[in-house]
């Protein structure tokens, strides 16, 4: 089961290698430019692989990917999983 922490770990260690500021769960990562287009594509690929889901391109929008919280909520809804911690 994917958790907010596991998404955060992927973002901080793989996508933002060397990023030292802690990421808040409700922090905007897209409009602020913390994640660029390529990182968003990599993140979508990671979530697809980890959760065994397909993320349609029309779902890659602010409402689903702006914060760690929203990403987790989206994946939970997409997979029908119970929310992890």
């Amino acid at each position: 089961m994917i958790t907010i922490d596991s998404i955060k770990k992927y973002v901080t260690t793989t996508l933002l290698e060397g990023h030292t500021d802690p990421l808040e769960e409700d922090q905007d990562l897209l409009i602020s430019g913390v994640l660029d287009s390529i990182n968003v594509m990599k993140l979508a690929g990671y979530l697809e692989q980890e959760c065994g889901i397909t993320i349609p391109p029309e779902d890659i929008v602010l409402e689903n990917f702006s914060t760690l919280e929203q990403m987790h909520r989206y994946v939970v809804e997409r997979t029908g999983m119970k929310p992890g911690v």
Binding site: E17, L30, I31, D36, S37, K42, G45, P57, E58, V61
Partner: protein
């Protein structure tokens, strides 16, 4: 991964190559010289099925996979010497039709797809502006919501098919505070008041496909013109580009095969010092290199098409395919000119035109430098 083909598809390849060779090349030198868009040939290609092969059967299309469609587009490029025509067909298919199919409402799909497939309407993908290009999302065109409408203002530049398009996907800023996530796209009928299409802008190659600007001056469109949701334009762009980058160069595989065939024929007929020039390694090695490039290009494109068919992410593979095939096409054209010597520089040999057309492939759909940015970015560099 399986690239094998049925006998039915092989037959369709031959029929398409023969159709293209017999019907699409008549006055190609004059068309290129005068920058004439062959509208009747566009319609003939549509009647042959070029714009339908990939479309779902539910909408009257052929229901073919990306892999099979690519192979048939390769056949089109093998027979058709007009790279502008084959490029334009691919641009509409992968950027416009595929975007509408993926993001459009049922009403939008049913309104536009039949006309695209029949060749009675043409579509343009209008994102580029003077200040954007490689910085694709740095747009200044705005779409302001006003009741049940959006009002569009701005100018799109260097848009394929813009002077002749009946409908355009227009990318515009709807939320200026949200960067690329504040962009939206609209399906706009080009007869809409406030929209103006420029004349064709002359260019180095691909002269038979019109290229131009679209100006929007208080162009009011209903909210039903929104393609996808508000703020989804960057996803639409990334999605459509992954398809276009992967597959728009399929006809160029056929063009490379055609150049190899032409170079082999020439190298066997042309005599120097009592033997055909093909006996000289400076010639035969060039032809071998052309064949190596074609083989690697085919494998990259087929693999990317297969990934798209299976729904797997293909961001890196699409960028690799786009870079390799476009550069292979340029190198193959240079080799063909070198093999033909002085005659290769002449318009009537038709090799020089291929070379002018080929350079465009390193630019459109994202330059090869941008593709290398994507490849290195995906590697975490």
């Amino acid at each position: 991964m399986d690239f094998s083909r049925s006998s039915e598809v092989e037959l369709k390849y031959k029929q398409t190559r023969d159709f293209a060779s017999a019907e699409l090349n008549g006055d190609v030198i004059e068309r290129d010289s005068n920058s004439v868009f062959p509208i009747e040939l566009w319609k003939r290609c549509a009647e042959h099925g070029v714009l339908s092969w990939f479309m779902p059967e539910a909408y009257g299309g052929g229901g073919h996979s990306a892999l099979t469609t690519s192979y048939l587009l390769e056949a089109l490029g093998h027979g058709c010497c007009d790279n502008g025509l084959t490029f334009a067909l691919g641009a509409q298919l992968w950027s416009v039709q595929k975007s509408i199919l993926q993001f459009g409402t049922t009403d939008q799909i049913e309104r536009y797809l039949p006309g695209f497939m029949k060749g009675t309407i043409k579509g343009a993908f209008a994102i580029t502006e003077n200040g954007s290009g490689s910085d694709a999302f740095a747009l200044t065109t705005t779409a302001q919501r006003d009741g049940d409408s959006y009002v569009l203002n701005g100018e799109k530049c260097m848009i394929t098919l813009a002077p002749v398009a009946d409908v355009a996907i227009i990318f515009a800023v709807t939320n200026p505070d949200a960067g690329q996530w504040g962009l939206s796209s609209f399906l706009v009928d080009t007869r809409t008041k406030g929209l103006r299409q420029s004349d064709n802008i002359p260019k180095m190659g691909l002269r038979t496909v019109p290229f131009g600007n679209i100006t929007l001056n208080n162009c009011r469109v209903p909210v039903t013109c929104l393609l996808g949701s508000e703020g989804s334009a960057s996803s639409i762009f990334n999605y459509s580009q992954s398809w276009e980058r992967s597959l728009v160069l399929a006809p160029q595989l056929g063009a490379m095969q055609r150049l190899i065939d032409q170079s082999i024929t020439f190298s066997k007929q042309r005599m120097r010092s009592g033997q055909s020039i093909g006996k000289f390694q400076s010639i035969s090695h060039r032809i071998a290199n052309m064949r190596i490039r074609l083989e690697t290009s085919r494998l990259l494109l087929y693999k990317t098409a297969w990934l798209l068919d299976t729904g797997k992410q293909s961001v890196t593979e699409a960028a690799i395919a786009k870079t390799h095939i476009s550069e292979a096409f340029v190198a193959t054209c240079s080799d063909a000119i070198a093999i033909h010597g002085g005659s290769g520089y002449l318009t009537e040999t038709e090799v020089e035109r291929q070379s002018r057309d080929a350079l465009g492939a390193t630019i459109y759909g994202g330059t090869v430098d941008i593709q290398r940015n994507i490849i290195s970015g995906m590697l975490g560099v």
